[in-house]
């Protein structure tokens, strides 16, 4: 116990004097997330506000063939431009990305309408171009509205009630709360916290193993009359400590940053008060043991500080995998999923931010499951430290 304490405090003091550790624990991790997040949110808020209000510039070929349609489109806040010279030029313009969407009205448009034959209107677009999607959707919706209007008029002329065309009246009632809606966007928050947590202890985990070996201070350390297990426990605990600092700073920064973000304009009010900060910290804390032991384990296999940095950076990506898979499969939180470290923290955090009540069984499984995995990894580290080959 005394050895663990001695090693722990030495690593803390040593690393507080190391600029590399301080930068990664106190700056990189805690600030990277909030800054990136604020940037992304502000951008998307700006875009969605702009898109709703701004008139859509829509190039139309053959506008002279359909003056009524053009007038209808203009009434829906769409500016009609003269499109490219012909249909081929329009296809080129869209596939090169010069135009997002182009409408082509053929010469016989008016005749077909008059003869009650479905009149073709071409919408030239590139479905692979996600930026064009919004414009295309708006143009298509406007065309459909015009089509509906014409259909209604044709029925009325024949003395038929146009509403027979609508056997169903679909009414969608959205019960999502503002906090719930924000969770979609804030889902990526939990990764920022896990990232901050891992970067916080990364340098220490490397320094305590590969760094110590490279410096030549490992061999004299192993000559001391102490158990190697205790040395490694002290080092892992010190890495956990830096991870805890880093993640708590990250949580607090987010608490303040969210206050400055125009989230209300998106209809979101994330639940991220100081009580949530504290709860989130406690939920994330067990993951520090997994992170610290995993990084120590990976760094123990490497020959130098540089090599260790390369491999340990891969560990930074590890917690994203379960989160990614689950968000693609859209799985609901379940007790079984709480056994997976990083995923359980992610799901619990999303629940917190959505202002849902905490499922205490889930919390218990998450905490014990994560701690068990961490303890196992720590045990493997200790085994590794008993090997002769450790000194390289």
């Amino acid at each position: 116990m005394k050895t663990i304490r001695t090693v722990f405090f030495k690593e803390i003091v040593d690393n507080f004097r190391d600029r590399r550790t301080l930068v990664s624990a106190l700056l990189m991790g805690p600030l990277f997330g909030p800054i990136l997040f604020a940037f992304v949110i502000n951008l998307s808020v700006k875009q969605s506000l702009e898109n709703a209000e701004q008139p859509l510039d829509l190039p139309v070929i053959g506008r002279e063939h359909a003056p009524n349609l053009v007038a209808f489109l203009e009434s829906r806040n769409i500016n009609i431009d003269d499109g490219p010279a012909d249909r081929e030029a329009a296809i080129d313009a869209v596939s090169s990305g010069e135009s997002d969407v182009v409408i082509v009205i053929p010469e016989d448009f008016g005749d077909k309408l008059a003869d009650m034959i479905p009149a073709t209107v071409e919408v030239i677009t590139d479905q692979a171009n996600t930026q064009a999607e919004r414009q295309t959707r708006r143009a298509r919706r406007a065309l459909q509205a015009y089509s509906q209007q014409l259909a209604g008029m044709r029925l009325s002329i024949r003395g038929v009630n146009p509403s027979i065309m609508r056997p169903l009246n679909i009414d969608e009632i959205d019960v999502s709360t503002p906090s719930g809606r924000s969770a979609i966007l804030l889902g990526m928050l939990s990764y920022f916290f896990l990232f901050a947590l891992l970067t916080g202890g990364m340098n220490l985990a490397i320094d305590a193993t590969a760094g110590e070996r490279e410096r030549g201070s490992l061999e004299p350390l192993l000559c001391l009359p102490v158990k190697r297990d205790h040395l490694i426990f002290g080092k892992i605990l010190a890495a956990c400590f830096f991870m805890a600092i880093s993640v708590s700073l990250s949580l607090i920064t987010f608490h303040f940053v969210l206050g400055f973000m125009p989230l209300q304009e998106l209809g979101m009010t994330p639940n991220f008060g100081l009580d949530v900060v504290l709860l989130a910290f406690l939920l994330l804390l067990p993951f520090a043991l997994v992170g610290a032991s995993l990084m120590t384990l990976v760094a123990s296999f490497t020959k130098s500080f540089k090599e260790a940095q390369t491999w340990v950076s891969v560990v930074l990506l590890a917690p994203t995998m379960p989160i990614l898979i689950v968000s693609i499969l859209q799985v609901r939180p379940s007790t079984a999923l709480m056994f997976v470290p990083s995923l359980s923290q992610h799901l619990l955090l999303v629940g917190l931010v959505r202002n849902e009540p905490l499922n205490m069984l889930h919390v218990a499984v998450s905490v014990t499951g994560t701690l068990a995995v961490g303890a196992m990894l720590t045990w493997v580290c200790a085994r590794l430290y008993r090997r002769e080959g450790l000194l390289g």
């Binding site: 003091v13 040593d14 410096r215 030549g216 201070s217 061999e219 001391l224 009359p225 158990k227």
Partner: protein, 243 residues
Amino acid sequence: MIRVDGLHKYFGEVKAVRGVSFQADDGKITGLLGPNGAGKSTTLRVLYTVLKPDSGSATIDGVDVVTGPVEARARIGTLPHGSGLYPHLTARENIAYYAKLYDMDAGIIDERVQQVIDQLDINDFADRKTKGFSQGQRTKVSLARSLVHGPQNVILDEPSNGLDVMATRALRELIRDLKRAGKCVLFSSHVMQEVAALCDEIVIISSGKVAVHDTPDGIRKVTGRDDLEEAFVRAIDMVEAGK
């Protein structure tokens, strides 16, 4: 007292040590001499329990290094080859860290650390961070931290490597002090003159075997050479021939 009996250590196909036996007594300086790759460091690493022998035994004050590694380590002060310090800690903090890990009483640590700092004459830079220390300064601090618990046995692996003349002299003086205090000092070197200048007993190792174990005078007699360096080369030739 350090005893090594029929020690073997293999690394895969490489037979680094093939039956090394010798004894290093208290109050004596024993030199482990041999060319590069002869098995000196491997033998010492078995002694300070970083490596386990494949066969044979080694004891420190009668404590077996395989069955009682922690107790054996408590009885030695070690300066492994190329010992490193913690660059962000001061020399004093580096030494105190080891004192704590040697499980010394908190009350006497400060006093004892100051004693070794005086003993090794490192007061001038004791409170500076060790980043940027010269090789000589680093060796002194490393030595201080391995002596802080006052071990009965001292094992030094090529301690004079990279030291200048003055630092080497200081080191020799320190080793003689340890001898006068009745300690058992075992150190390795590949420099004949250094061993000749210091040692009471010389163990010459070549190709993982003991070529000669004798006093400097005895070695001159066995090999029939007056010059110790000649004697050293001759002893190694004898092992090579007997292989």
